[in-house]
């Protein structure tokens, strides 16, 4: 299938709820809006494809293109591995002008594959096309085919050049690649009636390891994670699992649906962010497993585990309530943002002054709306200038967002916590929620805010007095630094409220007409 046909195909996703609402013509146009030159942000399709596939830890990932695509981007995520490290080595053909002019691209690619197979003997090599190699018409599929046969190693073409579209399209094309070239090409060594796959979980910061033990306690075997901490062979034999769980909104829904069609594996969409969502994921997995033939006793055991874990997590969260009561949070991310995170934060007494809903599913949006009762809280995007003003005016006590907006918050001297995929902390499952709340409390109550917000001595109202000749002498008598040490319990009531609380959602009115494209997230 040509790239164009493939793109049409993924845009025509019948299982995508957004898509079902569109008419024939709108569907053909695809999900991605045309980008505005001079006002665009966000990664390309190649980026999206690599995000999905690179966590396969024992495979080699070779980028066929000029240096920029890989040289500027490698080693920038924290997909963790429990074993092989080959995926962290960056391979690229570094196509030069000479290669382009002389038409040497395909030969160089073939030789590069050979070098990798000879040095590392990986179970598979993924070869990614990029804009320039697609433009000059290198036949990557043909090279991969020849190399596969010649080197007796699966060499898989990933056709998602950057200019085909945005990151999300790349995610989907990677899913197609797995379906067309990998899944179903090997048989598992063992197979049990409680084998499952998790699709769309990349084990960033080791989050998979926060949830895998929950399944293990229920006797459920995680056969393949697609693709966090994955081994090539496990993905290749994923078609023998009984149930697919799909996480991270709709990025890989095409894969889940096609696996259901071809292999009869039922799937459900779920998330591990938040207490209810985690419980729900366990529950749904158990239900589908029982439906496909597992012992019905699994259901009872699952409910018991959920009850125990939920009681435990709420007990562990309780101490943070006094620290977070009444604090206002701005959620700005495409990542961790399911309604159940919102619900947990509200359970802590926090007020959500706004949440971005880009990349949220319709269902998620509806639930958030229901929770917050008032929809001006939801927005697609905020222009950086407005975000800065709002934070500077202290309309939120903390912003939870990703690295791109990090410095807007910090420069506005506002607490900030990373909840995007590039973060270093693991927030999945029950324990992850406790971790997240703990971090939020620590960020808001860090003594650094008082220090950095205080004006310099020469900027204060008493500046004249301060710099009067006897200032130094006075200061020696009454030291100005080092007051009583604040403890966590006193923090909540002693810290100054910086701004009077505004009516909820007031600031959002200011965003009318601001440019949503200035910042991309996730």
């Amino acid at each position: 299938m040509s790239l164009q046909a493939k793109i049409q195909d993924v845009f025509n996703e019948p299982a995508c709820d957004k898509n079902l609402l569109k008419d024939e013509k709108a569907r053909k146009k695809g999900c991605s809006k045309p980008l505005t030159p001079g006002a665009a942000a966000g990664g390309c399709a190649f980026d999206g494809a690599k995000i999905v596939l690179q966590p396969i830890t024992d495979a080699a990932h070779l980028i066929h293109g000029p240096l920029a695509c890989e040289g500027n981007s490698y080693d920038n995520r924290h997909a963790a591995s429990s074993g092989p490290l080959l995926y962290r080595t960056s391979f690229t053909t570094d196509v030069t002008e000479l290669d382009v002019v002389m038409g040497q691209g395909e030969k160089k690619l073939y030789r590069a594959i050979r070098e990798i197979v000879e040095t590392h003997a990986p179970p598979a090599v993924f070869v990614y096309s990029t804009c320039v190699t697609a433009l000059i018409g290198d036949d990557i599929e043909a090279v991969c085919k020849t190399a596969s046969a010649k080197f007796a190693t699966p060499v898989i073409p990933v056709i998602a050049p950057g200019f085909a579209g945005a990151k999300q399209l790349g995610n989907k094309l990677a899913g197609e690649t797995l379906f067309d070239h990998v899944i179903g090409t090997a048989e598992p060594e063992v197979s049990t009636p409680t084998d499952i796959n998790i699709i769309g979980e990349y084990n960033l910061s080791g989050e998979l390891w926060q949830v895998e033990p929950l399944f293990r306690r229920l006797g459920i075997r995680l056969h393949a994670c697609i693709t966090g901490d994955a081994r090539y062979r496990d993905v290749a034999s994923a078609h023998r699992s009984r149930v697919n769980m799909m996480v991270c909104s709709a990025a890989l829904i095409n894969l889940a649906r096609k696996m259901e069609e071809r292999y009869g594996i039922p799937y459900f969409e779920g998330s591990f962010y938040g207490v209810e969502d985690t419980s729900d994921a366990l529950r749904q997995t158990a239900r589908l497993l029982v439906r496909t033939g597992a012992d019905p006793d699994l259901l009872t055991r699952t409910e018991a585990l959920i009850a125990e874990e939920e009681a435990r997590v709420w007990a562990r969260l309780a101490p943070y309530r006094p620290l977070l009561q009444g604090k206002r949070v701005l959620l700005y991310t495409g990542g961790v943002k399911s309604w159940s995170v919102v619900s947990a934060l509200m359970e802590m007494g926090m007020e959500i002054v706004g949440t971005s809903v880009r990349k949220s599913t319709a269902e998620d949006k509806a639930r958030i709306k229901q929770l917050m009762k008032d929809d001006p809280h939801m927005f697609e995007a905020i222009a950086p200038r407005d975000m800065y003003r709002m934070l500077k005016d202290r309309e939120a006590d903390i912003m939870l967002s990703g690295g791109r907006t990090q410095f807007i918050a910090l420069k506005a001297k506002t607490p900030w916590m990373d909840i995007n995929q590039e973060r270093h902390d693991a927030f999945a499952g029950y324990d992850g929620m406790v971790e997240m709340v703990k971090k939020i409390a620590a960020a808001i109550h860090n003594p650094v805010w008082a220090a950095v917000r205080a004006p310099a001595p020469w900027e204060t109202a008493e500046a004249d007095d301060l710099f009067a000749p006897n200032f130094l002498a006075d200061a020696l008598v009454t030291p100005t630094f080092g007051g009583p040490v604040l403890t966590e319990t006193v923090l909540a009531d002693t810290l100054p409220q910086d701004a009077p609380a505004l009516p909820a959602g007031a600031f959002l009115k200011a965003f009318a007409g601001s440019d949503a494209q200035e910042l991309g997230e996730c």
């Binding site: 240096l67 695509c69 490698y74 080595t89 391979f91 200038r385 410095f407």
Partner: protein, 462 residues
């Protein structure tokens, strides 16, 4: 002194290079009120932006013409024009610096011509904003080339052709190389000013990427060389280009203005610092300030102490040519041995003078191999070298770009007497931290040595 060995393999393993457009963007950000604009697909911009954010810990304004497959094939002039107009109205920048990318260069458009046409047609819409263009295909060169090309573009766009060199006898132009940090640039400024001279530094990221907290939201670069100062560079008495890669912008400036050019390959190391200080003294007609004399003496003392630790150590270094030159000459000057030298571009004059037998044009895979083969005690490269350092169990001196796993890299100073001393101490301390106590096995003269049969420990018949 060294032979430059070009790439021989097909698969680059853990790239050393970042792309030329990224270098160009960085240079543009050293001009006041600037926005860099990549002419290419949006993904390249996103990657460059994220990498710079990881290094500088700042929001970085870089924009893109957002080319797609169709516009690439049909030609991207429309996208370019739309992007310029959008940027102009949204950000009101003083300068828009365009950098081409591999995608638009592969198509072989006459972009310089197109930019001229757009500027002519849209003169009114773009009034008050200078637009400059640098050709920086990703497949040629790396950061240094992109940085230098952007500097040339700024000079070509903002320095008028004049013949009034020396009209400001105390004014000096410093064309700053890509390998200097904001901290370095500030040190150079202080040094020049200590001679009573007035420096114009270009590009000056010490005023834009130095991590300050401005009081208001600024969508463009929030500092950098003022446009007016660039326009007046033709009045200066002298130009110093720091690093070989800045020679070309220096020549362009000299051609346009007649201001005499001196290329100062490096400012790191006693000799290099001496040469620069002496030149400033000559130019200003002033004696060397007491403070600098004292710093020099401290550096000499530091070298006396440091050579005991650094001498005879084996080091493998990977960096772009001018940074490689600065660091390896410092190390070799203290008696260290360069067992591996890896760089990015053939054709730089800096590479021929690297104190190593060979300079390999290659990647961090090569660095790792050379370090292993040469049993290096230390590797020096940017943060991506961390995987190699872990595998080799060797300390890792972080130099260059990107440095994303250490704070404060933008403030590190390694130029002048004091900067050289600081860098040398950092290196010596990495070695000292690895101190190994003597052990009987380690000192055993027969360990690993084949023992001749005659001396073998079998009981001899008596």
């Amino acid at each position: 002194m060294s032979i430059v060995v070009p790439v021989r393999k097909s698969a680059t393993v853990n790239p050393l290079k970042q792309s030329a457009p990224l270098g160009a963007a960085m240079a543009y950000l050293g001009v006041e009120g600037a926005v860099p604009l990549f002419h290419g697909s949006q993904g390249c911009t996103a990657f460059a932006l994220v990498l710079m954010v990881r290094h500088f810990k700042e929001t970085i304004p870089i924009q893109t013409t957002a080319m797609n497959e169709v516009s690439t094939i049909l030609g991207g002039a429309d996208h370019l024009e739309e992007a310029l107009l959008n940027l102009k109205s949204r950000m009101k920048p003083k300068l828009i610096g365009i950098a081409s990318t591999a995608l638009t260069e592969t198509r072989g458009e006459d972009m310089a011509g197109e930019v001229r046409t757009i500027l002519k047609r849209r003169a009114d819409d773009l009034a008050g904003t200078t637009v400059v263009y640098a050709s920086t295909p990703d497949f040629t060169g790396a950061l240094e080339e992109g940085w230098a090309k952007a500097t040339e573009a700024v000079i070509a766009g903002l320095v008028p052709e004049t013949r009034v060199a020396g009209a400001d006898p105390l004014a000096v132009n410093i064309l700053v190389g890509q390998h200097l940090t904001p901290g370095d640039i500030e040190a150079v400024r202080d040094l020049v000013e200590s001679f009573g001279l007035t420096p114009t530094l270009l590009p000056d990221i010490s005023l834009s990427l130095d991590g300050t907290v401005p009081d208001a939201w600024v969508p463009t670069s929030y500092g950098g060389t003022p446009l007016a100062a660039i326009g007046a560079m033709g009045r200066a008495a002298a130009t110093f280009a720091i690093g070989e890669h800045m020679a070309a912008p220096g020549r362009l400036l000299a051609d346009r203005t007649g201001v005499p050019l001196t290329v100062q390959p490096s400012l790191t190391g006693l000799e290099a610092a001496d040469a620069f200080v002496a030149a400033l003294a000559r130019l200003s007609g002033r004696p060397v300030p007491e403070r600098q004399k004292r710093e020099r003496s401290r550096l000499v003392d530091a070298m006396l102490d440091g050579h005991l630790i650094v001498g005879e150590r084996k080091v493998a270094v990977a960096a772009e040519p001018d940074l490689l030159f600065a660091v390896t000459t410092l190390l070799a000057g203290l008696g260290a041995r360069i067992v591996g030298a890896v760089s990015t571009a053939v054709g730089s004059r800096a590479l021929e003078r690297i104190p190593a037998e060979e300079v390999l044009i290659g990647d961090l895979g090569d660095l790792e191999r050379l370090a292993r083969e040469g049993d290096a005690d230390l590797i020096a490269t940017h943060s991506h070298g961390r995987q190699a350092a872990e595998r080799l169990h060797r300390p890792h001196l972080r130099i260059g770009f990107p440095i994303f796993d250490r704070l404060g890299s933008q403030h590190k100073v390694s130029v002048g007497y004091a900067g050289t001393r600081a860098l040398m101490f950092e290196i010596a301390n990495l070695f000292q931290a690895e101190h190994h106590a003597p052990s009987p096995a380690g000192l055993d003269p027969f360990r690993d040595r084949p023992v001749p049969a005659a001396l073998s420990p079998e009981p001899r018949p008596c």
